[in-house]
């Protein structure tokens, strides 16, 4: 059945956009590459202490359940858009779906498949679920290499591999690009020792540790006694090609630090920063509260290296004009948002990228420059969860307007 809007990306933006469109009576198909909906936000922990910290992570589950109930939304996981062609005013899209999966009813979690899989990360546990998933991007079958080692070894016969992609051709009147962002790759910063120095992790990894439960259950081992956060890793960094503020990292780090302080009051917390950038309403109050129990140091470390016992040591210039070397049990690199290459199939000459490499938009913020193609969320520029949702609402209104106009034949 023909849908009116094709939403590329099933993260918080795609889901909220589908729901808003559904409320306006517009049907949509969400195409998501991963084997589950939710994108990055599905790995984020709720950061409430005694009170809600307004991180927005819970909005995902809210929208997921709404979208699942909605009648005019099609969800396609493990799918990619293979080609897009203009067809009059409409677009013709070829979607490839390859749904290799592990049937959760049969799987008894023995871990044999994990041991034999030749590709790291092809079988994985997401932070929100104790079930195993198959990543269709990394699985060897996706690049045309025949491999069924996991299916052969599974004693329960729970692995269902799909070698050939199912081709779905669909015609849509409009397209919304909600492909989101990629986290900055901190291995580019050799001096920060990721992943060479044990105990140095990214803020996304810490978020999924806290989402899964606690430090003991994570691969990290025991609960750390001191944690340092380093801000602006890959943000405001022309040398890495990211000469813009990622807007979310200060809020994320402060919320994570307060969540940790709330769960483990004995952990010492330090935040190294250049300057705290606030983009949220009433953020100054959050900051004030955080300053009472978190140590803020205004200095960027020059280096993180491993000491004799294998703990990360942070070298920075202290307030008393001397060089400090501080030992921590864990160092969290607060990585920024970098544009994800949306590799939009098909050529639409109107589409452009802005100075920072995000998908460009018109003055109204969601028109991508080609009639019928819209952009929403972090694909258009760094955004927090709530900013993504409001951007999706704006996109929904503009899509409605566009569809009404084309219906009238303008």
């Amino acid at each position: 059945m023909k849908k009116e809007t094709l939403i590329i990306g099933g993260g918080i933006t795609g889901l909220s956009l589908a729901w808003e469109l559904s409320c306006l009576g517009i049907s949509s198909t969400i195409v998501e590459k991963a084997p589950f909906m939710g994108g990055h936000v599905s790995n984020f922990a709720c950061k409430a202490t005694q009170t809600c910290q307004k991180c927005g992570a819970c909005q995902l589950e809210d929208y997921l359940s709404k979208v699942h109930k909605a009648e005019n939304v099609d969800l396609m996981v493990s799918s990619t858009v293979d080609s897009l062609t203009q067809n009059g005013r409409d677009f013709k899209a070829m979607i490839l779906q390859r749904k290799s999966m592990i049937v959760s009813d049969k799987c008894d979690d023995c871990g044999l498949c994990l041991k034999v899989c030749p590709v790291e990360g092809a079988l994985f546990y997401p932070a929100f679920d104790s079930r195993l998933y198959i990543s269709n991007e990394k699985c060897l079958n996706s690049i045309g290499v025949h491999c069924e080692i996991c299916a052969q070894i599974c004693p329960q016969g729970a692995v269902e591999l799909q070698e050939k992609s199912r081709e779905v051709e669909t015609e849509v009147a409009s397209i919304a690009i909600c492909t989101g962002f990629s986290p900055y790759d901190p291995t580019q910063k050799l001096k920060f020792g990721y992943p060479r120095v044990p105990g140095v992790i990214t803020s996304l990894e810490l978020d999924s540790i806290l989402r899964t439960g606690n430090f003991q259950s994570a691969a990290f081992g025991e609960t750390p006694k001191s944690i340092a956060f380093i801000q602006c890793v890959g943000s405001r960094d022309p040398r890495s090609g990211t000469n813009y503020c990622s807007q979310i990292c200060c809020g994320v780090s402060i919320r994570l630090a307060r969540l940790i302080k709330n769960r483990y009051p004995d952990i010492n917390l330090t935040i190294f920063y250049m300057d705290i950038q606030t983009f949220e309403r009433e953020f100054d109050r959050t900051l004030d509260r955080a300053q009472s129990d978190i140590n803020f140091i205004r200095a960027m470390p020059s280096e993180i290296h491993s000491d004799e016992d294998g703990f990360p040591r942070v070298v920075y210039h202290g307030g008393d004009e001397t060089r400090q070397m501080a030992l921590f049990d864990m160092v969290v690199l607060s990585v920024g948002i970098v544009p994800r290459d949306p590799d939009l199939p098909g050529s639409f000459p109107g589409l452009w990228k802005n100075r920072d490499g995000f998908i460009g938009s018109d003055d109204n913020g969601v028109d991508a420059g080609h009639p019928g193609i819209f952009v929403a969320g972090a694909a258009q520029g760094p955004k927090s969860i709530s900013a993504c949702v409001s951007h999706a609402i704006l996109a929904a209104s503009q899509i409605k307007r566009y569809l009404d106009r084309t219906m009238r034949g303008e």
């Binding site: 022309p238 960027m300 280096e303 070298v315």
Partner: protein, 172 residues
């Protein structure tokens, strides 16, 4: 903390440094202190603090920067440049500042002596009969000083202040 007299500041100074080749990045500094934490000189001599030198240049403390001897302490290890997120390229900025200091005739005596040695002998120390005899004994060819090349490079002139920019410099 020593007081800064605003009347003595030269607001044009930062633009002059930024005009120099290599000095372009000066105004991009955020003051994050990564350079200072990476500098091998700073723990030895507290006066040489990259972040502070940038701040002084941006404030226009021309006299204090150019007449100081600490700007000559830079070891050119490029450690600061390596960690700087804003691409200030501080080692190059330091060269720009030192070039300005040379234009203003603020070269420390040690460097002037090195210049005259270079001009006279073509190298930073004199190679005499004694050294060459020793080289001959262990089978090395003698060193010939090519002072004439350096005579062209370093013409006979006393380093004069650039009259166009020096008005505020010696009045204070």
């Amino acid at each position: 903390m020593p007081k800064i007299n605003l009347n003595e500041l030269d607001p044009e100074f930062k633009h002059r440094v930024a005009e120099q080749p290599g000095g372009e990045g000066l105004k991009a500094c955020f003051g994050c202190k990564a350079c200072t934490a990476a500098c091998p000189i700073q723990p030895i001599d507290k006066r040489y603090d990259p972040r502070k030198i940038i701040r002084m240049a941006l404030l226009g403390m021309k006299k204090q920067v150019l007449e100081s001897d600490f700007i000559w302490l830079c070891s050119s290890c490029y450690g600061c440049q390596e960690v700087c997120p804003q691409n200030v390229r501080f080692t190059e900025v330091m060269y720009a500042i030192k070039n300005l200091a040379a234009q203003e005739a603020c070269i420390p005596p040690g460097l002037t002596a090195q210049r005259s040695l270079l001009k006279k002998h073509g190298r930073l120390y004199e190679v005499g009969e004694f050294e060459n005899e020793k080289r001959l004994k262990i089978g090395l060819p003698p060193i010939i000083e090519h002072a004439e090349d350096f005579d062209v490079l370093l013409p006979d002139q006393t380093v004069e202040k650039d009259p166009g920019h020096s008005s505020t410099f010696h009045n204070s």
